[in-house]
Symmetry: C3
Subunit: 261 residues, 3 copies
Amino acid sequence: MSIITLTTDFGVSSPYVAEMKGAILSIHPAAAIVDVTHAVPAQEIRRGAVILDLVTPRFPEGSIHIAVVDPGVGTDRALVYAEIGPQRYLAPDNGLLSRLAIRLPPGKIIRLERREYWLESVSHTFHGRDILAPVAARLCLGLEPERLGPSQQQIIMLDWPEVQITPTRVTGAVMEIDSFGNLVTNISEEMLAGRPVDERVCVVCGIYETYGIYHAYGQQMPGMLVALINSYGWLELALVNENAAERLGISAGTPVILAWE
Amino acid sequence: MSIITLTTDFGVSSPYVAEMKGAILSIHPAAAIVDVTHAVPAQEIRRGAVILDLVTPRFPEGSIHIAVVDPGVGTDRALVYAEIGPQRYLAPDNGLLSRLAIRLPPGKIIRLERREYWLESVSHTFHGRDILAPVAARLCLGLEPERLGPSQQQIIMLDWPEVQITPTRVTGAVMEIDSFGNLVTNISEEMLAGRPVDERVCVVCGIYETYGIYHAYGQQMPGMLVALINSYGWLELALVNENAAERLGISAGTPVILAWE
Amino acid sequence: MSIITLTTDFGVSSPYVAEMKGAILSIHPAAAIVDVTHAVPAQEIRRGAVILDLVTPRFPEGSIHIAVVDPGVGTDRALVYAEIGPQRYLAPDNGLLSRLAIRLPPGKIIRLERREYWLESVSHTFHGRDILAPVAARLCLGLEPERLGPSQQQIIMLDWPEVQITPTRVTGAVMEIDSFGNLVTNISEEMLAGRPVDERVCVVCGIYETYGIYHAYGQQMPGMLVALINSYGWLELALVNENAAERLGISAGTPVILAWE
């Protein structure tokens, strides 16, 4: 039986999440529902897209991931079902799946149009509960996705910053700030293959710099800025035992440059 | 098998919630437990009552909803089991169920008195864990509610503000502020039946006003105050893409007036 | 089937929790996972240890409790499996289990070394997901703990403040501040056996004092400082209907003295 996950910008205190769960369980009382996070900053589609990309591939094949960061709810933006690798997604077609899709183009994409699979009464402001939740429950019970509506060729893609790579420079950016204040970049371990990662590499983030790329926070002294390959395989900057984002005043989007002489 | 939900004022960080789950699972290891919210403001019975009313009817019939906002714990306030529509509730009898009960009077009401269904050792300060959790687990396993104690005729009702309706005015109030800062009122869609909802209606909230009642946030420009019928069927006021409660300094209880010429 | 619980310092907003759940469910899709809390203050091993001690014994026998407060991740600190009473734990061996262990010495202790039970690719910064989660899933499916690595005799013990007891004084400290701001001490009900708990006992916490030990918050007037035996059986100090920690400026570690003439 598939797992259903929820990723939203409703906030950790919000009972809206429970309404979605109620809608799922009313159709499929034995559904296994897992919260990914409800702390995507309100209406920040890009932040939601990064989290979906980092977390959802960790789930069992065939999991159904509902994502709701939906400033256009009630307008004519589409809702889609999309298969990306072995994972299945239900989301507004507003770019929320586009970070996943740049690494692995979606296989099947279906636009949700068939109202018989939605709640009987659909509000204008909460399609997560009224459309995505019941559709997820029905997919989990075996409904063929083709029944949900017409297929479409593409989802909406956002313009994601690309990493610039030259013989002496790799230039990326901070993509996500985690709950410890660590700065996760869009520079992957693979992009550094064959280059020295000892003190010959200078890592620059905003006005700060550090030398060398390590494996663990504990390899540096408390309070020091350390660059390491994190548990996702991405370059990350951290202040050992402190909150780097707060202490250094760095936010998502800040450029990160690796430089070799 | 029934679902057990939890609504408390313990805070989202609180391990007290897990203690209730441990108590339930120790009796009924396969129980399906869903968090409604643990962010009811501490000891604010009215806020808890509004959330229970908005959210719990969304759950499957026969669900058991535990609610703990309990400033009187350890005094002689009663704990009750109550059936309201197809839903079942376990809560202190302090008004927490009274918002649900004004729309639909409870069917069966039982006062929890039979200690053999509680934890062996009952504290004076945490009846949610020591009484409500084990009782919910046992109800879920099939215990007849009549076994829990004597029946009673009524639950304690709080005095809820009524909406005033005249030919040219509908006067209600802000009942709940959601996690986006939107202002949910006690004025329902039905109360507006037959009246114009275009620019002929003026919606006044505190010192602010807007004209017309819309269906979606996206129908107005970012930053504008918009009135709409929300996903609960209630009139709601929102600042498009912003936090209305914070920006306008409006809190629960603020009057909301709809006026027609 | 066993329950798996999670106690971490990842923060309530963190998607890291969901990654651990994804890792568990990828191996054991029907696992029942319960969050204890993710709000242990970052890297505060002692705070995590107190919460584990207060909460986890409430779970069914054989539950598997994963605990991650792990400033030494990626260094050579060990990870252990430990049986403490009827509960089973997976944690870094950094003192996190030591508050549980002073009351009940661990039975079996196994150092996690056999990589075939871990994720195929193990990061240097997230052993909770890459080692503890898959090991918990496999234990839950019946794996013998002896397969995980060599046994060891002891876990690392932190130095916990002991309660001083004399004929006229019991001196302890605030151990934990709950989500209501109540101050939980390390003075247990048993330590007061046979002593008067009426107005003859003076309870001193920092610069504040109160007389008598009560059973319920509601036995005092709002705003008053009240000492009572809480739902864990520990002496607790609370401001009725208010947040004692914030209002009085008291933090974990503050001495608490009970004095009789």
